[in-house]
């Protein structure tokens, strides 16, 4: 790949490396780009990354595993897009994703990324687990397969396979049942939504997955989809239309807020709860949905709510995006974003750290443990709080 073939060749040099993008909305710290928060070397900041990409495409720098790590450490959280003051800000993250695509095309990607992509390609999920096991989370729930019900409940890979995230999938399904929502699931038919593979630059695989999913959804007559994960929500809503897939997409937080409002489910009283909420990037910055999960939490009788210092548009990502929940470029340090976030929840004096994303759930639960905060803070998906 050289610069001339790169989609953003006329733009990438415009990054001034001024570092506005290191900050959250309230300017409280320079650590709101997760990889920069983790490594604190300029090469890991947004600007550093863009300049390195340009140097690579320009021939100024050779490709190296370290370069690939730096590029792939971007979790696609879009804080930079939010904060860059320049008129090209919308494309800042796209410039990085396009560089990942260039690396994929040349087969020069970190090993963990390769594994992830291969697993998705071969098994339809990043863990490389058997399709059959996708149904593990449903055990004992008595769920119907999708056959024309009003909604398809699309669980996604984490909710299906990850033992912790399964809790959120189960809780959500139970709430939908309680409320009498007409819905079905795909069970072992389900395959990856493709959001992460796109964020990792594997466009062809996204297209493949999108087409397969669209075909399956269309054949089954799906019109409305509830997703457990904001990542699925994002790709279904914003990318599938490019491949001809037009469905009505809801994130489970939106459905739950609505069911609560209509009185179809009731939030149990939690007098001792002091809840804070961690905004998932793919619900928040990517889709500007900040209110639905907060409405859910506000409906819990007796519970107190406290924002963390960085919230909504300014939230610090848990570090799990763009496949990093699996590839883990940002782990292993007290400055891993998830651990910073766990400490922030503690500073907010929360005893429940609420999330609305299976990735955040696993990332933050691990972080709370490592921080030794597990006796003080429980990490819960909003659906789990409603079924407590």
């Amino acid at each position: 790949m050289n610069l001339m073939e790169y989609k953003y060749k006329d733009m990438i040099h415009r990054c001034f490396r001024c570092g506005y993008c290191k900050f959250p909305t309230d300017w409280s710290d320079i650590t709101n780009c997760p990889p920069y928060a983790r490594f604190r070397l300029e090469s890991y900041s947004t600007g550093g990354r863009l300049w390195l990409i340009r140097a690579w495409l320009n021939g100024e720098l050779e490709w190296s595993p370290n370069l690939a790590n730096i590029v792939y450490s971007c979790v696609g959280c879009k804080n930079c897009v939010e904060k860059c003051p320049h008129s090209f800000n919308d494309d800042v993250v796209n410039m990085i994703i396009a560089a990942k695509t260039a690396m994929v095309d040349e087969g020069k990607i970190p090993k963990a990324v390769g594994e992830f992509l291969t697993n998705v390609q071969l098994h339809g999920n990043p863990y490389g687990m058997a399709a059959k096991r996708r149904e593990d989370w449903m055990e004992g729930l008595n769920l119907e397969p999708y056959k024309g019900q009003e909604f398809l409940f699309y669980v996604g890979c984490e909710g299906s396979y990850d033992t912790r995230a399964q809790g959120a999938a189960r809780a959500t399904a139970k709430l939908l049942q309680q409320a009498g929502v007409s819905f079905g699931v795909l069970g072992s038919q389900e395959i990856s939504d493709g959001n992460e593979v796109e964020m990792m630059g594997e466009d062809a695989l996204l297209e493949d997955l999108a087409k397969k999913n669209i075909k399956m959804f269309t054949e089954l007559g799906v019109k409305k989809i509830i997703t457990l994960s904001p990542h699925s929500y994002n790709v279904f809503k914003n990318r599938y239309p490019d491949f001809g897939g037009e469905f009505q997409i809801y994130h489970h937080s939106q459905i739950l807020a609505n069911l609560l409002k209509k009185g179809l489910i009731k939030a149990p009283e939690q007098a001792d709860a002091r809840i804070t909420f961690h905004d998932p990037c793919f619900l928040g910055r990517w889709n500007e949905e900040y209110s639905a999960p907060r409405k859910v939490l506000a409906a819990i009788p007796g519970a107190a709510f406290a924002e963390m210092g960085r919230n909504k548009k300014g939230a610090l990502c848990c570090g799990g995006g763009a496949g990093n929940f699996y590839t883990d470029f940002l782990g292993g340090s007290e400055d891993s974003p998830a651990r910073i976030r766990a400490r922030e929840a503690d500073e907010a004096k929360a005893n429940i750290l609420a999330v609305a994303c299976p990735n955040c759930l696993t990332m933050l639960e691990d972080a709370v443990k490592v921080e030794g905060l597990e006796d003080k803070i429980k990490v819960r998906d909003i659906s789990e709080i409603l079924t407590a």
Binding site: F16, R17, C18, Y20, W27, S28, I30, G48, L52, S64
Partner: protein
């Protein structure tokens, strides 16, 4: 793996020391027109202990070290002129103390100005510090090391005049403290002794600033940008003098630029007025416009552009992208306010010669005691010819400052030479001695303020 690298890893841990090409590349460039200069190592200490160990290692091995804050000077001042170790100080960013009644705060020097402003706004809304117009990632230490000025320059002077105490790691790795903190008291005053002129403004060539007590000032509830305009540049010094007579403006800046057309050949004077109430603000508006500047309005040669606009953090770096080119650099000079007209005229000529839309700005420092006048030159990073034009324009401007009998602020190496050539011999000798005593091995940001 080289042994210095291994030592650095031993000091700060693997994640925060690098000799990999990608990190070295990144730190070999700054935002301006400077040619890349490659370090051999990059290290990011978290504590003063770690920093001391790094400096000791450098001193023992005679390895050059270059302290780095935000890296925002544009003038290449934190590029390693002679290789060695870049010490990225931004992990040293703790707020150690805020004394509300004593109006000061003690911080680690790698803290960003953006973080301080945000912290005070949240926790001490009645206090503020002087934030430079730089991108908010600029650090306190870096700014003091180049005698920066911020948004309280008009009432209180240079940011280096607002220091209440200092801790420095000397080139030997030892620590020295100055101000009341040096005698074990709080960090509430810089004077009477000892003096600190040895470190402020030295580009880190004499030591690395690690802790600073910053003076804080009253922060009024409301803050508005009142804009006045004149066409004749000769009026600017007097307008500034008149406003400065009131002693009320929080910041006072005159600008002119070719783009957008609205600014072309016109001089906009931004007067930041503040107040805790509408009455206080209206009183200030009244004194400013109905009294002090009334003659200009009456004569039709000056006009109120806008009042009441909220002041927001300047996003100056946008001007870097006027030409979709992602870069600009400026020469700043400290000059008498009376120089404004000449600086503007000559500057716009230089810009014209290099096909760059002119952009000039003058910020009043103190009660019109001086002004920081800047000439900005935008370039397109992807087009070497424009970079060269900007670089040439910068050099011509440095020479212009000398010709006008100004002083160059935060000069690049080229400008530093011009300044040193004209330096009083007594001062020059002293600078040399000081440097020799403090940094016998010449490891501290060598090439900067170097007297042959």
């Amino acid at each position: 793996m080289s042994s210095i690298h291994q030592e650095l890893v031993n000091i700060v841990g693997e994640d925060y020391a690098s000799n990999r090409r990608e990190e070295l590349f990144t730190y070999s460039k700054d935002l301006g027109t400077s040619q890349p200069l490659w370090p051999e190592y990059v290290v990011a200490p978290k504590t003063t202990d770690e920093l001391q160990a790094v400096v000791r290692l450098a001193n023992e091995t005679k390895t050059p070290i270059v302290p780095l804050g935000g890296g925002m000077t544009l003038a290449g001042l934190a590029l390693p002129q002679q290789g060695g170790v870049i010490i990225d100080l931004k992990r040293m960013d703790k707020i150690l103390e805020v004394n509300e009644q004593g109006r000061y705060m003690v911080v680690e020097a790698g803290i960003s100005h953006g973080k301080i402003t945000s912290y005070l706004k949240k926790n001490h809304p009645n206090l503020m510090h002087s934030e430079p117009g730089a991108p908010p990632a600029a650090t306190v230490g870096g700014n003091l090391a180049i005698h920066g000025q911020g948004d309280l320059a008009h009432p209180y002077g240079f940011n280096t005049d607002m220091v209440n105490g200092l801790e420095v790691v000397l080139p030997t790795g030892d620590i020295a403290r100055f101000g009341s903190c040096a005698v074990g008291s709080g960090w509430y005053t810089m004077h009477p002794l000892p003096d600190i002129g040895l470190f402020l403004g030295w580009n880190g060539a004499t030591g690395i600033i690690t802790k600073v007590s910053l003076k804080l000032y009253p922060c009024k509830k409301f803050r508005e940008n009142n804009m006045f305009v004149v066409e004749n540049e000769e009026f600017v010094p007097d307008v500034l003098f008149e406003i400065s007579h009131l002693g009320m403006a929080e910041d006072l800046i005159a600008t002119s630029s070719e783009i957008p057309p609205m600014m072309n050949r016109l001089h906009y004077i931004s007067i930041i007025n503040t107040g805790d109430s509408e009455e206080e603000l209206e009183f200030k508006r009244h004194m400013t416009f109905d009294v002090q500047l009334a003659k200009y309005i009456r004569n039709g040669v000056g006009g109120i552009v806008s009042l009441y606009d909220e002041r927001s953090r300047p996003q100056v770096s946008k001007s870097a992208d006027w030409k979709k080119g992602g870069g600009f650099e400026y020469v700043g000079a400290i000059v008498p306010v009376s120089f404004y007209p000449e600086c503007y005229r000559r500057g716009s000529e230089i810009s014209g010669r290099h096909f760059i839309p002119y952009t000039v700005l003058g910020r009043v420092i103190g009660s019109c005691h001086s002004m920081m006048f800047s000439w900005s030159y935008a370039f397109n990073r992807a087009d070497d010819a424009t970079v060269k034009h900007a670089r040439d324009a910068l050099h011509e401007t440095d020479e212009l400052v000398m010709e006008l009998n100004g002083t160059i602020w935060k000069p690049a190496i080229f400008g530093q030479k011009l300044m040193l050539e004209r330096m009083d011999p007594g001062a020059l000798r002293l600078m040399k001695e000081v440097k020799k005593i403090l940094d016998p091995n010449g490891i501290m940001n060598p090439g900067n303020w170097e007297v042959d």
